[in-house]
Amino acid sequence: MNDHDTPPSKAAAAVEIDSVSKVFNLGKPNEVHALDGIDLTIDDGTFVSLIGPSGCGKSTLLRLMGALTHPTEGSVVVNGKSADQARLDRDYGMAFQTSGLFEWRTVTQNIELPLQLMGWDKAQRKERALEMLDLVKLAEFGDHYPRELSGGMQQRVAIARALSFRPQLLLMDEPFGALDEMTREHMQTEVLEIWEKTRKTIVFVTHSIPEAVFLSNRVVVMSPRPGRIAADISVPLGRRNFDTRESQGFFDSITEVREALRFEGSTR
């Protein structure tokens, strides 16, 4: 069968979100009800996309999983422990829309940063960084500074950095948002390749329906103000290849996601 659709047999939950609400500036005049009653379980090894209109709380949900912000109500469990503990245990890697590379560090030094914080010695760091550079096909660029790379290359470095310490969970917030269509499709293929090789759990925020469908086992559609889960669509496309983007199944899934989004838009 195709191993793209079947999660690992004894699927432990990578992320369990239980009736989570998030209110920013609670009780102040600028109060924002960003998320309401979110229940979401993500099985280990799956590739899940979060999609929805701007401001519906996708980034907030992702940051809750990373314990970069905390729920007003409900609980977030990552790898069977509190999100905070998972953060302290460095259980996840994160990549953002802007690559967030440190411009004073070379590409290699950027990739080594998490390892340095984890107290790895120099030789180990070097070795892992080289391995990561190979993975994202930037082997010749290790000694360059970020400003010497194109936007797509910078994003690849950011992904290599997020993967460098081999976290089982990868949180990505519109990592390809700033890229042109060509580079974007290329990067999607690369991320899928990495996912197939490593079988990480990936939570991927995007605005692009085709991107969500092409990449994921599961597309979670969100509705705005307050953010809720409007639909949870599984994508049975099997192992992706060059023809996937032109297959009937691909278009069917795109339609399904689009309708879910449109339905959500029309209810307001």
Partner: protein, 258 residues
Amino acid sequence: MIKRALAGAFPALVIGVGGLVLWELSLLVINPDGFLLPRPTEIFEAFTEHFDAIWSATINTGYIVVTGLIVGVILGVVWSLLVSRFRIADETLTPLAIALNAIPIIALAPIFNAWYGLLSPTSNQAIVVLLVFFPVFINTTKGLTSVGATKIELMDSYAASKWEITRMIRIPNAMPLFFTALKIASSLAVIGAIVAEYFGGSQDTLGQFIVQNAASGRYTNAWAAVVAASAMGITLYLVSGGFERVATPWRPDVDVVG
């Protein structure tokens, strides 16, 4: 590298030499007596004639400038590290820094002379320290605190400590602004030292040399000392630029002006 530096300096050389020639020639035409403004060749003569006196005055003033600059820079950097790290420091030390800066510092020179003794260099150094402190403090603080939210979140996602964030993110982020401040401060230090010397403090300094020669009408000598002071300012500026290049290798190669 040296060749490139020379090539980079070429336009400046042309302007400098051209300006001197123009200065010389126009004065020869409009003001041959050289009463108000001496010609460059006259200044050069005075410079060679009084070289020993100017040299030792330059050494003494240079000592005041460099020590004052170092102490002022350290003070500014430590102050901004405290302010950017601890809220309580921000709430107390920032207003204090702003208040200090509101004082017309040069006006303190005669007062400092009374405090530290009329002939002591300490009063001059104190003026330099105060002048240098503020631009260093303001710029470094800006650099330490203006780190993009994404970068801080990334560090949080790696469970980095506050100190690791300061050391690995805030300090490198502040480097470019710190060096901008250092360049401003190095010029301010020379100005501050010389004006302070007008009022007393250390003897045998450029400030004193200028005051005494001007008082007795020997303006050409005063100009020769001004040239020495300018050379000191330029040297400090170039040295700051050199440190900047070494300390921030990730930045594109820009001229010293950058």
